[in-house]
């Protein structure tokens, strides 16, 4: 009996001080299940790092962090419901951002209502920032801007690509990525020879990619999440087509991409917002390189940029609490002050500089592009951050050695 009560009421039983209870609704299953689990790992990494030092330090006293994860099953209505539960039933101190623009769109409407500041590192659709919300922040850039590197890299290529095709799944984030591609292509005067959005439930990608093959574009730009990126690569090989350059808005930076496709992943370019070779650092996690290695030690894999963006988001809330000297349990008035503090913040983190604009978007986020070279992700854009020159043009499937 004593044991059970000790488990149920650890704080009281062991006479500890209060802790920060922080909740989050994430897609742990369903179509974004893999991506959501990455963000979960990232938050757990942040909490474990903080707790290893005793917790968040307020006026010399340590308050550990306790995380509550709920599975929204990649469903936006479910996400909103779970966040409402976190706010009203669980009465958590803070709510962290989930994954996927549709889910975060729904969930952030609830956090706005209950005045919970939400900093997301896993959603970037422009629509998120066009609602006049005060409590929604994002460490990622806007979806249309995230893909800038994937197009502007064209200026570094020889011969410079002349034509491009855009395909993408017809959901919020990926259709915006497609829109972004389109606008940067226009700026660079590259001809768009084909463009099509398709539903996520599409079974067969071959017919679609045969059409693209017939147009024979120099660049293929894809608005994607992980599973779409995998399907497009599989189909490209089946229809025996490899444009000079293929780029994805999201997917290849998730470790499963290279693991699943092996050598077929070579040459693929992806948009990213963080890479371990960038000169970013903070007092909690050290340099980008150090975080990268420590992460590998814990999880046996390197972090994806969305994970580091999520860690950056959690950090901003932690620093706001520390600066304001708030102790748990946080009240509504405290959360309002955190929101105000976030707007004033201009900090350097392991994820890079974070400064939120009036619409909550991170205004300091240089987009980068990475490429799969010899089974590893290598930063290839912008030029001053590039680890290695970009491989171009991509070899045709038949010319590749197995």
């Amino acid at each position: 009996m004593t044991m059970i009560s000790a488990l149920l009421l650890p704080g009281i039983a062991r006479g500890q001080t209060a802790k920060f209870r922080i909740g989050c609704a994430l897609p742990l299953t369903g179509v974004f299940g893999r991506d959501g689990n990455l963000v979960k790992d990232a938050y757990a990494y942040w909490a474990d790092t903080i707790n290893a030092k005793g917790g968040i330090t307020i006026k010399g006293k340590n308050y550990p962090v306790e995380l509550l994860f709920f599975d929204d099953k990649s469903d936006q209505a479910e996400s909103a419901k779970l966040v409402e539960r976190l706010a009203t039933f669980e009465k958590v101190d803070l709510i962290l951002g989930g994954f996927g623009s549709d889910s975060v769109f729904a969930a952030s409407a609830i956090t706005e209502k209950y005045k919970y500041p939400m900093v997301s590192g896993g959603a970037s659709s422009n629509k998120l920032f066009e609602r006049g919300f005060k409590y929604y922040f994002s460490t990622l850039g806007k979806a249309t801007e995230e893909v800038r590197g994937c197009v502007e890299i064209a200026d570094m290529l020889n011969p410079r690509p002349k034509t491009a095709a855009i395909i993408g799944s017809d959901v919020l984030f990926t259709s915006l990525a497609a829109e972004g591609y389109k606008s940067y292509l226009k700026k660079l005067n590259i001809e768009l020879v084909y463009s099509e959005l398709f539903p996520l439930s599409l079974d067969d990608y071959n017919s679609l990619l045969f059409k693209v093959k017939q147009k024979n574009p120099d660049m293929l730009l894809v608005g994607s999440h992980l599973v779409v990126a995998l399907k497009v690569m599989k189909a490209l090989k089946e229809v025996d087509f490899m444009p000079k350059m293929v780029a994805f808005s999201y997917g290849p930076t998730v470790p499963d991409f290279i693991k699943s496709l092996g050598k077929d992943a070579e040459y693929v370019i992806a948009a990213a917002e963080w890479a371990p070779n960038l000169k970013y650092k903070d007092a909690v996690f050290g340099t980008a390189r150090q975080l990268n290695e420590a992460y590998f030690k814990k999880y046996g894999r390197y972090p994806d940029y969305v994970e580091v963006a999520s860690i950056g988001g959690a950090l901003t809330e932690q620093w706001a609490i520390e600066k304001l000297g708030l102790v748990p349990p946080l009240k509504e008035a405290d959360r309002v002050r955190i929101m105000e503090e976030l707007y004033k913040m201009d900090v350097m983190t392991v994820y890079g500089r974070i400064k939120f604009g009036p619409d909550g978007a991170n205004v300091e986020h240089p987009p980068i592009a990475v490429q799969v070279q010899n089974g590893k992700l290598v930063t290839v854009f912008p030029k001053d951050a590039a680890e290695k020159p970009v491989w171009y043009p991509a070899k045709a499937w038949k010319e590749r050695k197995q």
């Binding site: 742990l28 299953t29 369903g30 299940g33 893999r34 959501g36 689990n37 017809d170 099509e196 959005l197 398709f198 539903p199 439930s201 599409l202 079974d203 067969d204 071959n206 017919s207 679609l208 045969f210 059409k211 017939q214 992980l226 599973v227 995998l230 399907k231 599989k234 490209l236 090989k237 089946e238 229809v239 025996d240 499963d256 699943s260 496709l261 092996g262 077929d264 499937w397 197995q402």
Partner: protein, 296 residues
């Protein structure tokens, strides 16, 4: 002239792609039709049988480097064993109850299997990438992916094998007898429960094999099942519920129509067309386009 050639090439390619995709549909739908035809059960965990077959191939390939095609017997075995056990101990109890009971039962099993797989294997997306993955050959301007061609061939062989088995073989005849008239079959000494379990094992086995086949060109994950169940349902309604060659015809037809739609209209419409066809067939020709399906 050049332009004309390209137009013809695109049409031929669309037809070939559709035909091969149709083979894939047929491969994973005939088991669904068999189970419905004999037991009158709409098996909602059909997609999970595909998933089990696909993961069997995946693990044998990943852990022991067994060629995906050599893993097929194991995929058949694991899915049919699972099918047999579930039929014997769960579905047999509701098989003669009103249809709603079997819907609920198979829906429950769908949830259990999908979530157990999720616990065991996590939500990761996986694919089987072999040295010959995505390889194919060209006939003029037409590209034919090998793995899909193999699936297509296997789908045709399986369909005819099952058809032959039901028409000519003694056990097959017992299965048909049981599906046509339960009481009469019982009177002549056929053990209905055994027949049902056997049918389920057979249907699950060919479905598991299809799972193993698709793992080489599709992305697999624990929750992949339900969309496959829905497509199988459409294919089988199209070809005629319970009529085995109907799954082949329905699959090929759906594949070709989808591919033509995706090529000449949009990919979005190719998904919608599946359900439009389903409605048209259900209203105008509920026995399926061949007119041989079972209708309640």
């Amino acid at each position: 002239m050049e332009g004309e050639k390209a137009v013809v090439a695109l049409l031929l390619q669309a037809l070939v792609t559709g035909l091969l995709m149709g083979g894939v549909y047929a491969a994973y739908s005939s088991g669904f039709s068999l189970i419905f035809g004999v037991m009158n059960i709409v098996n909602i965990f059909h997609g999970e049988l595909i998933m089990i077959g696909a993961f069997t191939t995946y693990w044998l390939f990943t852990l022991y480097h067994v060629d995906p095609f050599l893993t097929l017997p194991v995929s058949i075995l694991s899915a049919s064993l699972l099918g047999y056990v579930i039929q014997r101990f769960l579905i047999n109890r509701v098989v003669e109850a009103p249809p709603m009971m079997s819907y609920l039962c198979t829906f429950g099993i769908h949830l259990i299997l999908a979530n157990l797989a999720l616990l065991a294997w996590s939500a990761d997306f996986r694919t089987v990438t072999t040295s010959y993955s995505g390889e194919g050959f060209s006939v003029g301007p037409i590209t034919v992916p090998l793995a899909r061609l193999a699936t297509f061939g296997i789908a045709i062989v399986t369909t005819f094998a099952i058809y032959w088995f039901l028409e000519k073989n003694r056990h097959g005849k017992a299965i048909r007898a049981a599906s046509q008239d339960k009481e009469m079959a019982r009177l002549v000494g056929i053990d209905i429960r055994k027949v049902y379990a056997l049918t389920f094992a057979l249907g699950a086995g060919i479905t598991g094999m299809a799972g193993g086949l698709i793992s080489t060109y599709f992305v697999i994950y624990p929750q992949m099942g339900l969309p496959y169940t829905i497509t199988a349902f459409c294919v089988v309604v199209l070809g005629g519920m319970g009529y085995i060659p109907g799954a082949l015809v329905g699959g090929l037809l759906l594949g070709i129509i989808q591919s033509l739609t995706a090529t000449y209209l949009t990919s979005g419409l190719s998904v919608a067309i599946t359900f439009i066809l389903l409605f048209i067939i259900l209203i105008l020709k509920p026995q399926g386009i061949m007119g041989r399906g079972a209708v309640e």
